[in-house]
Assembly symmetry: C2
Homo-oligomer: 491 residues x 2
């Protein structure tokens, strides 16, 4: 275990930060609220990008790129959007620096003031719909199925690496459709893509549903989301898909001639996930020995550590280790042989355990003589000595098994921490004693939602898509309710 | 040919802009100097990224991500860097907007002024070396071989899509080394990677060499570059690799303990290419019928166009077309079947010709009966009717042949437009009569370089790495010179 590393029990928040920093995932930068994503952390994000990008393309989407700057006036166009987004933003006011006349450095040139300030995109609906106006004339130009991988900036006051940073990386899909039905279908489709990715790549079970009006994206008619449960009992929104209706088409005057020759406003969706998924991945699976990664997103799936006492043994062991590495590589396994002689095997064991590498292969002189290998898996910490000839099939089986074990473990954690609650005192007690998802009746009013939030910091995470018909009474107000919604404290 | 489309002869600059816009590559945005990269243009950039990223990883590099914001004071740290970069920059001064008290929209909140202004990165040496200080203690932490894919902003006064835009996309490699030799080796290695990419992926021959002091990157000890020749006789710098010496290590106090126990400054390189490569690709190969793409970077390598007169023929032809598409897909060919019945075959022929798709396959009812296909290649416009069973092998052969033809054509253009010139009048005449690369003697002084630039707008593109020993007299000043350098007007 890394020195000075906290356990979840001791200090969950410090445990998380320790993993982020000591596993080499990210660190705070010299710029307030912005992080540096280090190579190991970025490699996880790259694997997420590759997985998602393929899913986007398989569902017919193409990538494009729109400017990082948005003219200030664009934000005022859509009434709800301005309230939600035009606040905590980075504002560019000048375009030149010059030497300070007093010789002490450089200053902003007061003569280089922009006529209209530019906002660094917190999300791109406005600039994109301003562009779509010229792309769309007829139904033949629809649908437009575009995605953008980009950085965005929201000037958050309290930041945490990956979970909430001033600048973050994300993808934002922006689609345009001829009908409400088609746009709604797209909104559901992309939520399904996110849920599929969360469950099958990240090994994190998610709930799917719709946001209450309070929690809706500014400018959307409906916001769908996936919600995951972290090990401290807090929820994390892992992806959103918005049905924007004709709001942005009206705001930016985007009309098309339908097949029947009528001039109509275009229907829109937008959907996104961000580097916050890396935070979710860390918190969902890691343990008190450090990071735990599901094989499908691990930058290194198998690490090989040679064990030796002297130069002769080193040569002998490394020759065999290279053979093994090459064989695994040919199978498409992401394998690393750490044959550095500047670090000891024990140090390497700790290092790769802390970095969450799914499988470790140790090989010493005795193993070479006996044609064996010692394997250890990160999820259960189980070790096994196997005949070297079986390595390929064992690695394949273990990678699949680790992926499954992590998912099942997370699912069972969620099941054990999802409770139907009908009593307000119990509601508060549960939140203070470990949290989790609380399925409770709600009277459907924003007032009650707000009061619950003020008293407990819990919010409605979602209203499940297909909830059972179950009339009841609001856990807070006692007023009638048509079914349960999901409450939790959240990241 | 697209309506209103210019030829190179008529107006080269309009020809370029027409291709960019009418082939759906990019367009100007609502923000001055920033472009929207449209799906087809972005798909080319994605293929460039994929090719380069693999080459970077094969040479041991990892990706990471650093903040887009750089504190203003960082620019003053490296003396040469501040002169070169801290000028035409986008400056963030505020972090909040608010509703205008007069109710007319939103305004910048004067209370939300940053203590220190933030500059949007024009390049990331400063923020990265500020970060490396904490990553490097000992020789065991070296080398650091990191690359970043990112957007950067340089507030250019005159912009042209892809070639020079205020915001652009690029990659910037930033490496740290224990010795001068190792850093210099890396600088050469990455220039070779760029040259390899330009020649073998982009089908563009390039010259390799070193920049004169005037043209050197601000903060570098040496700048190496690759230079390509465009069809209007102007040069385009297609990639640079900088040996930074210990300049940034000194500026940001980055030292390491060497194997011998001495505390030393770290050696650095940086290297980059940008979306300007898309501009180079367009200008190098395209003709008066539109875009021409080398197969290795074409988002669509083969397009299939069904020919039919009625619904019955449409069914028959499309069934066969789908078979062909699936077969090509299985071979790994990027193929598109355009079976839309909202556009006529003739329109589609023009469309894909204009978009530079390397091979077009046309299939009509007679072809289905005779088991034939009509193929056309974009580079030579040659057509051929082939037995359907040979499609796979013909496509494979043509893709290779088109890639080669484009390279050879560009190489022969460059050879025909590279001239040794020893006379100042001839130097000026050639520049005005078509340009090209001029190999001329230069006395080695910045003054002469500057005067030549003022009189002709030609600059020294590079000093070739291994130029022949050939004493001569400077084409401008008549003073002694040790060898020829390459002059051209440039983008």
């Amino acid at each position: 275990m890394a020195k000075g590393f906290s356990t979840r029990e001791e200090n969950y928040s410090k445990w998380y930060n320790d993993i982020v920093q000591k596993a080499g995932l990210a660190e705070n930068s010299a710029v307030r609220g912005c992080m540096v994503i280090k190579p190991y952390g970025y490699a996880i994000w790259e694997k997420m990008q590759a997985g998602l990008d393929k899913m986007f393309k398989d569902t017919g989407h193409s990538n494009a790129y729109f400017p990082i700057f948005i003219p200030k006036s664009f934000f005022s166009r859509e009434a709800a959007h301005v309230e939600g987004f035009a606040k905590e933003c980075a504002v560019v006011t000048h375009y030149r620096l010059k030497n300070d006349p007093d010789g002490s450095g450089i200053i902003v040139d007061p003569d280089a003031k922009l006529e209209e300030e530019l906002i660094i995109r917190p999300t791109s609906e406005t600039i994109i719909w301003d562009t779509y106006r010229n792309w769309i004339q007829s139904y033949r130009d629809l649908p437009i199925l575009v995605n953008q991988w980009a950085n965005v900036v929201r000037w958050e006051m309290r930041t945490r690496m990956f979970l909430r940073t001033a600048e973050f990386l994300w993808q934002e899909g922006h689609t345009a459709h001829a009908t409400r039905e088609e746009a709604m279908e797209e909104t559901y489709r992309m939520l399904d893509v996110y849920a599929d990715f969360a469950e099958n790549h990240m090994a994190i079970p998610v709930l799917k549903g719709v946001k209450s009006e309070n929690e809706r994206f500014a400018g959307a008619e409906e916001t769908f989301c996936i919600e995951a449960l972290m090990q401290d009992g807090k929820a994390l929104q892992a992806g959103t898909s918005h049905f924007l209706g004709q709001n942005f088409a009206r705001a930016f005057d985007v009309k098309f001639t339908s097949r029947e020759g009528r001039l109509e406003y275009v229907w829109a969706t937008s959907w996104g996930v961000s580097t916050r998924l890396v935070g979710a991945l860390i918190m969902a699976h890691s343990d008190d020995r450090g990071l735990v990664l599901p094989p499908r997103l691990a930058p290194i799936q198998v690490v090989i550590v040679p064990i030796y006492k002297n130069g002769e043994e080193y040569q002998k062991v490394c020759a065999k280790a290279r053979e093994i590495r090459d064989a695994l590589q040919r199978m498409g396994v992401l394998v690393k042989l750490d044959d550095r002689d500047t670090y000891k095997p024990g140090w390497k064991f700790n290092e790769y355990e802390f970095k969450g590498v799914p499988i470790r292969v140790a090989i010493g002189p005795r193993d070479v003589d006996n044609d064996t290998l010692e394997l250890a898996r990160r999820d259960t910490l189980a070790k096994e000595v196997i005949p070297a000839g079986q390595l390929g099939q064992v690695v394949e089986a273990w990678l699949a098994s680790i992926q499954e074990t992590l998912y099942k473990r997370a699912l069972s954690f969620r099941e054990n921490n999802t409770r139907e609650v009908d009593n307000w005192e119990e509601f508060k007690q549960i939140l203070d004693a470990g949290g989790g998802f609380i399925m409770a009746h709600w009277d459907g009013t924003a007032e009650t939602e707000q009061k619950i939030k003020e008293e407990t910091r819990a919010t409605i995470r979602l209203i499940p898509f297909r909830r059972k018909e179950e009339p009841g009474r609001c856990v807070y107000s006692g007023k009638p309710s048509a079914g349960r919604v999901v409450f939790a404290r959240a990241y």
